[in-house]
C-alpha cells in the first residue's frame, strides 16, 4: 500500500505544482513508483511542468465519470519510467469531482503506487478539500510572507478537521515546505524569518527551497527541477526534502546562510 501525500497551501502561486512535480521526480529517481495527480480541474498546469501536455488523452474527470479506465488516463514520464501523471481536465470544472469518485481513484492508485502525490488547487473549496480528503501526509507549501503563512495556517486547520484521518480521530502528519526563499531579501529583512514562520505554523520543516531562476527555466522546458538540473540549488533542496519524507534525518540548511553553505557541501560529500 502506497502513501498518499497532498501538496497544499491555500494561497495560489506559492509553488504547489512545482513542488509536486519536483518531489515526484525526486522520489521516482530512487526507483519508487510515483504518480502525481493534478486536482486543479479547470486550471491544470502539472502536465506543462512535467512536459506531458501533448500526450494528454483522458483525465481525472473522465476516470471519475466512468468515461475512461484509470490505466488509460495515466501518462508515463518519458525520462523516468517509474513516474506517472494523472492530469486534470481543463474543460470541466471542479463540480465534476465527486467524493465517491475521488475515493475510488485514490484507492486504486494507492494499491498500484508507492507514492500518490495529490497536487491541490489553491483555495479551500471543493477541489482543495477533495485533494486532501484521503491523504496520509500533508505537505504545506508556504512562502515566507504573511498572507501565505496565514493561508497555510487556515489549511492546517482544515487538514485537522476535514480529512478522513481527522474524522477517524487520527492525526494527520503535516510538513512545512518553505519555498521561494530569497537569501538576499532575507538579508535585508524584507521576508519573514524561517524561525518566525515555524513559530507561527508550528509544524515540522521538510525543507527550504531557494528562489531560483532554475525553477522557472525547468518549468519552461517542461521538466521537474529535480530532472532538469539535478545539481541546481532548488533541485538539491528538493532531493533532501524527498529523503526526509522517506524518514531520513538530514539537517535543514537555510539558503544563503554561511554555515548552511558549508553544511551543504559536507552533506553532499557524505552522501
Amino acid at each position: 500500500m502506497g502513501k498518499v501525500i497532498v501538496v497544499t497551501s491555500g494561497k495560489g502561486g506559492v509553488g504547489k505544482t512545482t513542488s509536486s512535480a519536483a518531489l515526484g521526480a525526486a522520489l521516482a529517481q530512487n526507483g519508487d513508483k510515483v504518480v502525481v495527480v493534478d486536482f486543479d480541474v479547470g486550471l491544470r498546469n502539472l502536465d506543462l511542468v512535467m512536459g506531458a501536455e501533448r500526450r494528454v488523452v483522458y483525465d481525472l474527470v473522465n476516470v471519475i465519470q466512468g468515461e475512461a479506465k484509470l490505466a488509460q488516463a495515466l501518462i508515463r514520464d518519458k525520462r523516468l519510467e517509474t513516474l506517472y501523471l494523472l492530469p486534470a481536465s481543463q474543460t470541466r470544472d471542479k463540480d465534476n469531482l465527486t467524493p465517491e469518485g475521488v475515493e475510488k481513484v485514490i484507492t486504486a492508485l494507492r494499491k498500484a503506487f508507492d507514492w500518490v502525490i495529490c497536487d491541490s488547487p489553491a483555495g479551500i473549496e471543493r477541489g482543495a478539500t477533495l485533494a486532501m480528503r484521503h491523504a496520509d501526509v500533508a505537505i504545506v507549501v508556504t512562502n515566507p510572507e504573511v498572507s501565505s503563512v496565514r493561508d497555510s495556517d487556515r489549511i492546517i486547520g482544515l487538514l485537522d478537521s476535514k480529512t478522513l484521518k481527522a474524522e477517524q480521530g487520527e492525526r494527520m502528519e503535516k510538513h512545512l515546505l518553505l519555498t521561494r526563499f530569497d537569501p538576499a531579501r532575507a538579508e535585508r529583512g524584507d521576508m519573514l524569518k524561517v524561525e518566525d514562520v515555524l513559530e507561527i505554523l508550528s509544524i515540522p520543516l521538510l525543507g527550504i527551497i531557494p528562489e531560483s531562476m532554475d525553477v522557472l527555466r525547468a518549468s519552461n522546458v517542461g521538466a521537474p527541477v529535480t530532472l532538469a538540473d539535478n545539481k541546481s540549488a532548488p533541485a538539491v533542496a528538493y532531493f533532501d526534502a524527498a529523503r526526509r519524507l522517506k524518514g531520513e534525518t538530514i539537517p535543514v540548511t537555510v539558503p544563503g546562510d554561511k554555515r548552511g553553505f558549508f553544511g551543504k557541501i559536507f552533506g553532499r560529500k557524505a552522501a
Partner: protein, 250 residues
C-alpha cells in the same frame, strides 16, 4: 506599567441570554388553540409578560396561514417574540424574527388543574426556570476548557460557560470567545473576546500580544487602538469601568 489603551468611548456589544417559553403548535390549529385556551383558562395571565417563541419545525403551513395563527394568538394576549426552525419562505418583515441556536432548558410548569377553574398565583410552585440570583453565578465553580493545540486561522472557539485556556498560539484570523477569562500560553495573533455573557471581571492573559482585536464584556479594541509598546509583550488585559486596561506581565 498600566496603560489605558485608548480614551475614546467604545461601543458596547453585549451578549445576554433569556429564557423563553416555547410553544409548538400542531395541526389542525383550531384543536390546538382550543387546548391552549383550556390551559390559559386555568391561569389567567399565564402567558402575559412572558417571552414566547413559536417552534414551527413540523408545521406545514405557508406564510399567510402562519400570519393568521400569530394574529389569533395575539388576540389571546399570547405575544410571539420569535420563530424557531422557520423556513425562509415563512418569514416576513411583519412577522416575528427567526431565532436560532436555542438551547434546551428545563420545562415550564403548566398552571395546576384546579376544580374551581380559578387558581391563585401564590399557590403555584416556583417555576423551574427561576434560577438562583445570577450575581452569584460566576462565584460558583465554573467549567473551563483547555486546548492543547494551536488555534488555526479560520477556527472559532466558542465557550460561553467559562474560562478558556490555550496551550499554544492563536493565529491571525482565529478567534476565542469565552464567557469567562481567556488564558493563552503562546502568541495571541487573532481575536480574543472574554466575558461575553456579561462578565466584566473577565480578563485576557497572553504570553505575546499581537492581537487583531480584544474584547471584554462587549467593550473592544482593535490592534490599531492598542498601545504599540504592548505589542509582542506578555500582557494581561482587564476592564476598569468602561476602559480596557492592559499591563505587561513580568
Amino acid at each position: 506599567m498600566t496603560d489605558v489603551v485608548s480614551e475614546s468611548k467604545a461601543i458596547r456589544l453585549k451578549g445576554r441570554s433569556f429564557l423563553a417559553l416555547v410553544l409548538t403548535p400542531e395541526l389542525p390549529f383550531e384543536d390546538w388553540l382550543a387546548r391552549l385556551d383550556d390551559l390559559a383558562a386555568r391561569s389567567a395571565g399565564f402567558f402575559l409578560r412572558r417571552p414566547i417563541v413559536l417552534d414551527v419545525q413540523n408545521l406545514d403551513v405557508d406564510r399567510a396561514q402562519l400570519r393568521t395563527m400569530i394574529d389569533q394568538l395575539t388576540a389571546r394576549n399570547v405575544r410571539i417574540m420569535g420563530l424557531e426552525n422557520a423556513r425562509a419562505s415563512m418569514l416576513a418583515p411583519d412577522l416575528p424574527p427567526a431565532l436560532t441556536d436555542g438551547r434546551a432548558a428545563s420545562d415550564f410548569e403548566p398552571p395546576a388543574q384546579s376544580a374551581s377553574g380559578e387558581t391563585s398565583q401564590t399557590s403555584q410552585p416556583q417555576p423551574a426556570y427561576e434560577r438562583e440570583p445570577s450575581h452569584n453565578h460566576f462565584a460558583t465553580a465554573m467549567p473551563s476548557l483547555t486546548v492543547t493545540e494551536p488555534v488555526r486561522s479560520g477556527q472559532s472557539l466558542v465557550f460561553p460557560d467559562g474560562d478558556v485556556t490555550v496551550v499554544g498560539s492563536v493565529a491571525s484570523g482565529a478567534e476565542i470567545i469565552a464567557g469567562g477569562s481567556i488564558h493563552i500560553y503562546g502568541a495571541l495573533r487573532g481575536r480574543a473576546l472574554a466575558g461575553t455573557m456579561g462578565n466584566a471581571s473577565a480578563r485576557i492573559f497572553c504570553r505575546k500580544l499581537e492581537a487583531e482585536l480584544i474584547a471584554i464584556d462587549g467593550f473592544y479594541k482593535t490592534a490599531e487602538d492598542m498601545e504599540s509598546e504592548l505589542r509582542g509583550q506578555a500582557v494581561q488585559i482587564w476592564l476598569e469601568g468602561e476602559a480596557i486596561v492592559a499591563e505587561t506581565l513580568s
